[in-house]
Amino acid sequence: MSASAQNQAVQTGRITRTFIYVFLLVASLFYLLPFFIMLVNSLKPLSEITGGNMMALPQTWTIEAWGAAWSTAQVGVEPTGLRPYFWNSIKMVVPAVVISTVLGALNGYVLTKWRFRYDTILFGLMLFSCFIPFQIVLIPMARILGMLGISGTTTGLILVHVVYGIGFSTLYFRNYYAAFPTELVRAAQIDGAGFFQIFRRIMLPSSGPIIVVCVIWQFTNIWNDFLFGASFASGSGAPMTVALNNLVQSSTGVKEYNVHFAGAILAALPTLLVYIVAGRFFVRGLMAGSVKG
């Protein structure tokens, strides 16, 4: 069934429909408001922000703040803007998302199609790991990264994100594959396909929707992470959020709010893009499995 399939059965009257549209529009205003504030203020000169109404439209429109946030703002001792950190984030997010998704897919595949004793308990253990508060893992994780010699490297950061991404990616794929006909796997076994051949040739080609859900989820979480990025990346290798935080959170300096907001929107662009581009598939993917609990 496609996500655009509508329930044909429900009939609504004119008044009800008007109410529904009004409600939906008001709700969308509620959701758009913070973004509006960010956007509007990123297009004002600083004096207009500190001086006047922060909700008003700019009197002087300027995109200076955007340029500053991207390439000239001071994020450390160097006025580099967010640009170099953007690539750091990409270098971290892409492998972390790929690895955690692949692991999640394999785990989900094993846990549904190659059942063995106590497999549900193992799954429960993995699922519960989603709920660990990240604050408590900081110190022991640092110790282990140090022992592995990957403290302060992107590799270490990827490892951390993979570890704490496994729970959710396994959950998504397990629920999706649970609804995937086991007979197909059996047929492929009889056809002589091995474990990985079945995965690659039979399971993966049918996993599109859930891959989208998992990738969106992991991408958002990893891209937006600050705690791990700040703790486990070295200075020049720090991800975008750490740089953004440095830009925004300076404690005893002048606060350039317009630059902050421009930077904030820049930092959010990739995730926004992912949501807007893949959003259609997102509901479809959720439908295909993950809401089945």
Binding site: R186, D191, A193, R201, S206
Partner: protein, 370 residues
């Protein structure tokens, strides 16, 4: 020892034994149907033959080789699944040749095999489509094609027709039968539909509660069911079962049954050894077609008995008319010719073919051997 040998096989999940000591030897070219209600263990047995489930104890041999622990793909079998299990992301052609590809068969040979099979099943025009674009019947053919192309020792069918509508099911049934007669391969076929079992098989294994209740040709199963379960499960409408008492009258054992009018009818057995049950209660089984109108009675039978009884319900079915009456306190269905005119409430003279009657021990429910 057969071509497919199921030797003392059991299956347990944890402490629960779900399949008890199954012994079946299937000859080459035979069409064995495993039939039984859901949960009887027939699919489990099939999966064990395929290698999709472990064998708890006992042995399964295919073509002279014990296959316990052998990977499904190395057993030289092919399987058609209930849902067809067509790979949704591959075209029909790719579905058919996937197994050959996995076995390292070169592409030209694969293509040839595919063309041959497609021709045989008349699905040439479908080869480039995806399963999602096919009708139920077409999918069924593709699933069979996928099995055929492997040229296996044994074909396994897991309720292949149950997802089709009634008309298509009958067509495909015939088709499978034709295919078997043409190819002469060994087939093990699982179904819960006793008509499929009767029409397709060379032999039937009726299963219930993890036991093989009876293994035999369709005729054996139908005429001499091993026990009450087999008797009532096979045949439609089911065999009539009524309580009766054995009485030896004039040196010949009779079944004494209560009629609808309160009287007792004495029906002579064809089996002489029923005399040993003189005076005891039994369960008498008579199939609907053995209780009929006098003109419709089997002329070759030596033991047609007249019986007057009152008609409760009539159900004209076109080719026959089914009539419900009461014998031994039970509803009994009889099958009359369509042109006999009967009315509910009417007292009717039935002709009972006692040659086809069977008797069961009410304690063990086993058939009393005749």
């Amino acid at each position: 020892m057969g071509f497919l040998d199921i030797n003392n096989v059991t299956k347990s999940y944890g402490n629960v034994e779900v399949l008890h000591r199954v012994d079946i030897a299937v000859e080459e070219g035979e069409f064995l149907v495993l039939v039984g209600p859901s949960g009887c263990g027939k699919s489990t047995l099939l999966n064990m033959i395929a290698g999709l489930e472990d064998i708890t104890s006992g042995e399964i041999g295919i073509n002279g080789r014990v296959v316990n622990g052998v990977h499904p793909s190395n057993r030289n079998i092919a399987m058609v699944f209930q849902s067809y299990a067509l790979y949704p992301n591959m075209t029909v052609g790719q579905n058919i040749t996937f197994g050959l590809e996995m076995h390292g068969v070169p592409k030209p040979e694969r293509d040839k095999a595919m063309t041959d099979v497609a021709k045989l099943l008349q699905i040439e025009q479908l080869l480039d489509r995806k399963p999602g674009q096919l009708s139920g019947g077409q999918r069924q053919r593709v699933a069979m094609g996928r099995a055929l192309v492997r040229d296996p020792d044994v074909f396994l069918f897991d309720e292949p027709l149950s997802n089709l509508d009634a008309k298509l099911r009958v067509d495909m049934r015939t088709e499978i039968k034709k295919l078997h007669e043409k190819l002469k391969t060994t087939i093990v076929y699982v179904t819960h539909d006793q008509i499929e079992a009767m029409t397709l098989s060379t032999r039937i294994a009726v299963m219930y509660q993890g036991y093989v209740q009876q293994l035999g040709t369709p005729k054996e199963i139908y005429d001499t069911p091993a026990n009450l379960f087999v008797a009532t499960f096979m045949g439609s409408p089911a065999m009539n079962i009524m309580p009766a008492r054995v009485a030896v009258v004039e040196g010949r054992p009779h079944a004494v049954v209560q009629t609808s009018e309160g009287g007792e009818a004495q029906l002579p057995f064809s089996q002489d050894n029923m005399a040993a049950w003189d005076g005891k209660e039994i369960l008498l089984g008579i199939r609907p077609e053995a209780i009929t109108d006098p003109d419709g009675a089997d002329r070759k039978s030596n033991n047609i008995v007249a019986l007057q009884n009152r008609i409760v319900v009539t159900e004209p079915a076109g080719s026959d008319t089914f009539v419900t009456t009461t014998l031994g306190g039970k509803d009994v269905i009889s099958r009359l010719r369509a042109d006999v005119s009967v009315e509910p409430g009417q007292l009717f003279d039935f002709a009972v073919n006692m040659e086809k009657a069977v008797a069961f021990d009410p304690q063990t429910e086993a058939r009393i051997e005749g």
